[in-house]
């Protein structure tokens, strides 16, 4: 790792991700309540929960893309803004305009921008790394394509390659399997497991419950608050899933609306 000093911390003393009492609100309406968790290093962690459970909100808040109403998030023992250099991100595919006039290679090179530094040009080494990452996701033949000429699965792999090019220790991925065919899904999960085996920590928002059990070492069951967080074998139980998916949390959402109304 480039930040060798922080990286050599024993996992116990500085977990890759530590969240304490995190509450996030959209327009004063809380959408995520009092999240506490400490993610262990070298795990592939799935974030599952029903629609509107706050899965994307959680990872965006962790990276500082959304303001926190309360609580704090630390990565590798330091506040997130100080450790952004060790955080990689795969946003939702719909978050960008795929008609934008850039090539696949341009997009993957963007993953290097944090390392290249402000106002400098990508070096030959950066290009080599970007090509390498494209090769890992089997998209190298498409390097010079304009991104609008890609299928959904190919777009997703380009985003994954860009995150790989970041060479991070902690990854947040927002539905990397959305709109992807089965073969691509298998190759993506293999890449994620490869990252995990190299000691990286990955938090992956996932929609499909049946595959979640096979894919992830740990699961975070989320529905406006943390229902359960732990090794898949322990938390993938009918009771906890029922708690996560079964029924609306009527009281919690009612209170949220009341909070919003009061703030108007």
């Amino acid at each position: 790792m480039t930040q060798a000093g922080a990286g050599s911390d024993p996992a116990g003393s500085a977990p890759p991700l530590e969240i304490h009492d995190l509450t996030v609100a959209y327009r004063n309406k809380p959408v995520l309540w009092g999240v506490d968790l400490a993610a262990p290093a070298g795990r592939l962690i799935g974030i599952v929960g029903p629609n509107g459970a706050g899965k994307s909100t959680l990872i965006k808040a962790c990276m500082g893309l959304l303001p926190c109403a309360s609580g704090w998030v630390k990565a590798f023992g330091r506040p997130v803004p100080e450790s952004l250099g060790r955080i990689g991100y795969v946003p939702q595919r719909e978050s960008v305009d795929w008609d934008f006039p850039v090539s696949v290679m341009d997009v993957v090179l963007m993953g290097r921008y944090g390392r290249i530094g402000l106002f400098r040009r990508p070096s030959a080494e950066d290009r080599r790394i970007a090509r390498d990452c494209l090769d890992q996701v089997q998209m190298l033949p498409f390097a010079d394509r304009q991104i609008s000429n890609l299928s959904g699965g190919q777009q997703q792999r380009v985003f994954l390659a860009r995150a790989l090019a970041q060479e991070s220790d902690l990854y947040f991925m927002d539905e990397p399997f959305a709109g992807v065919d089965a073969a691509t899904e298998a190759s993506i999960i293999a890449i994620l497991q490869g990252l995990r085996d190299r000691g990286k920590t990955l938090l992956v928002v996932h929609h499909d419950l049946p595959t979640a059990r096979d894919y992830f070492d740990w699961l975070l069951l989320l529905n406006l608050r943390v229902v359960a967080f732990g090794p898949t074998a322990e938390v993938f139980t009918p009771e906890l899933l029922q708690k996560t998916y079964g029924g609306r949390l009527t009281l919690l959402s009612e209170v949220a609306e009341a909070v919003q109304a009061k703030a108007r």
């Binding site: 934008f100 006039p101 921008y113 402000l118 970041q166």
Partner: protein, 510 residues
């Protein structure tokens, strides 16, 4: 500065009676011709018809002897470059309306800057316009943040309100003793000929700043425009980058005002960039094209407005940009309508030739291949067309050296024979594949094969051969021909004509 420095002698009486519309129409005709032929020589012919003394004016312009002409040229090129570059960002970010709002919002600032010392002081007007423009965009973002209104609504409101306020101020100043002579109305529609050295210094500084900043921070501005969330995770100063971009945009708009006018400056942001986006798929090339198109539009706008008396520059610049956009729409190699039409036409012709070849093959086959020639009559009845149409089809084959015609009978050349075998093979292989692998009834597969036969590439044919256990008889019991080897250049005319496995026919765009 003294009034608008149009380097034109006072109009003669008969000139003054000419309706302005008429002159601008003739000017527009000239515009079209000048842009099409890029020469004044052709335009001289129209001059004889319309009796405008613009030939002299054109000569004066092209000689560049007049300092006002040199100023106008330099100024419009500078503004074309800076507006073109920043317009590129507006277009890819789908923020075209922001340019419009910003440019209209500057008008009250122009008026107040003029009020500063009641004359056209470039710096005072620049500062006033800049403040008004930034205030406008601040109001837009404030409305968007604090109300339920969306950005387009806020932009529309701010645009109109600020512009209205500016018009009120201007009409008040026009009644002032100095107001009328000051040429402040040129800020509405632009007057490149009125550019002074002070204006040019300002435009030069702004353009240098825009080019310098974008060259320095190209990678950052690109990422912030494409994926701002990712940019923030990379710890880029996204907020500051956005502000710099907005500030540069305001600079460019305000510096361009004098030459192109408040009303149309947004067009100089959008049209060159839109044109550029038709020409390339890469952002840096798009920016360069956009700057070049902006500069050319600016120059030709200056030229065309110079041809008449006190014609505003802005409309002519925008019209030139519009014409360039039209040309790009028609002629752009990748996205142009013309090249696409040509591609589709050549594909249609190829399909037609292949159908004729197939019919010839079928006639030969029905005769048990005992003869090597096919009478035109037999071909016509096989193709279900009349004799004339059949002769036209044969003529197309003859031109492509796929067949020869003698004594009213068609014979295939070796490459024609190869093409015929290939197309029939494609057709029958596909029928076989549909009945075997996809289990479709034999009487359902013919129509589908009629389409597919023209688009099957070589690699797909190989794949079909590999998957079909016995590829020698089609579902209707007819033998599937193999394609005789021939020199590959000839084979290119036949059915397996596609390079690699890229299907070309069938509306596919290569």
């Amino acid at each position: 500065m003294t009034g608008p420095a149009t380097p034109q002698a006072p109009c003669r009486p008969h000139d003054r009676r000419r309706p302005r519309v008429c002159r601008s129409v003739s000017g527009w005709l000239v515009a079209a011709l000048w842009l099409a032929s890029a020469g004044v020589l052709h335009a001289a012919k129209i001059g004889d018809l319309t009796e405008v003394r613009w030939t002299e004016q054109a000569a004066r312009f092209l000689s560049m002897a007049d300092p006002a002409v040199r100023h106008a040229c330099l100024g419009t090129v500078l503004l074309g470059v800076s507006c073109g570059l920043l317009g590129g960002f507006l277009v890819v970010r789908r923020m075209a309306l922001l340019g419009d709002a910003l440019s209209h919002a500057v008008l009250p600032g122009v008026a107040l800057g003029f009020l500063w010392n009641l004359e056209k002081d470039p710096l005072a007007i620049f500062v006033g316009a800049l403040v008004a423009g930034l205030a406008g965009s601040a109001v837009v973002s404030w409305i968007t943040r604090t109300t339920r209104l969306k950005e387009d609504t806020a932009l529309g409101m701010v645009l109109a309100t600020f512009f209205g306020a500016g018009l009120c101020l201007l009409s008040m100043f026009q009644r002032l003793p100095t107001g009328n002579k000051s040429g402040i109305e040129s800020f509405l529609f632009g007057q490149a000929a009125a550019l002074g050295p002070g204006d040019l210094q300002l435009m030069g500084a702004v353009t240098a700043l825009v080019v310098g900043m974008l060259a320095l921070g190209y990678k950052e501005f690109l990422l912030v425009s494409f994926d701002p969330g990712f940019a923030r995770v990379l710890a880029l100063p996204t907020r500051r980058l956005e502000r710099v971009l907005l500030l540069l945009l305001a600079f460019a708009v305000v510096a361009a005002l004098q030459a192109v006018g408040v009303v149309l400056v947004s067009a100089m942001l959008i049209i060159p960039a839109a044109t550029a986006s038709l020409l390339t798929d890469r952002f840096h090339r798009m920016l360069l094209w956009s700057a070049a198109i902006g500069a050319v539009s600016g120059l030709s706008g200056a030229f065309l407005s110079f041809l008449g008396t006190r014609l505003p520059t802005g409309p002519f610049m925008v019209l030139s940009a519009g014409v360039l956009f039209g040309l790009a729409l028609l002629l752009s190699p990748r996205h142009g309508i013309g090249p696409r039409w040509i591609r589709q036409r050549s594909q249609r012709h190829r399909v037609a030739r292949e159908n004729t070849l197939k019919a010839i093959y079928q006639v030969l086959e029905s005769g048990g291949f005992s003869s090597e020639v096919v009478p035109v009559e037999a071909l016509a009845s096989r193709r279900r067309v009349d004799r004339q149409a059949a002769l036209r089809e044969v003529g197309s084959l003859v031109r492509a050296q796929l067949a020869t015609l003698s004594d009213d009978a068609v014979a295939l050349t070796p490459s024609g024979w190869q093409g015929a075998c290939a197309i029939v093979r494609n057709h029958r292989l596909w029928e076989l594949y549909l009945t075997h692998a996809a289990q479709i009834a034999p009487d359902h597969v013919h129509d589908d094969a009629e389409k597919i036969e023209h688009v099957l590439g070589e690699a797909t044919v190989r794949e079909l051969e590999r998957r079909l256990p016995r590829a020698d008889v089609d579902p209707h019991g007819r033998p599937i021909p193999s394609v005789p080897a021939a020199d590959p250049a000839m084979g290119r005319r036949g059915a397996s004509a596609t390079a690699g496995d890229r299907p070309v026919g069938y509306g596919g765009r290569s």
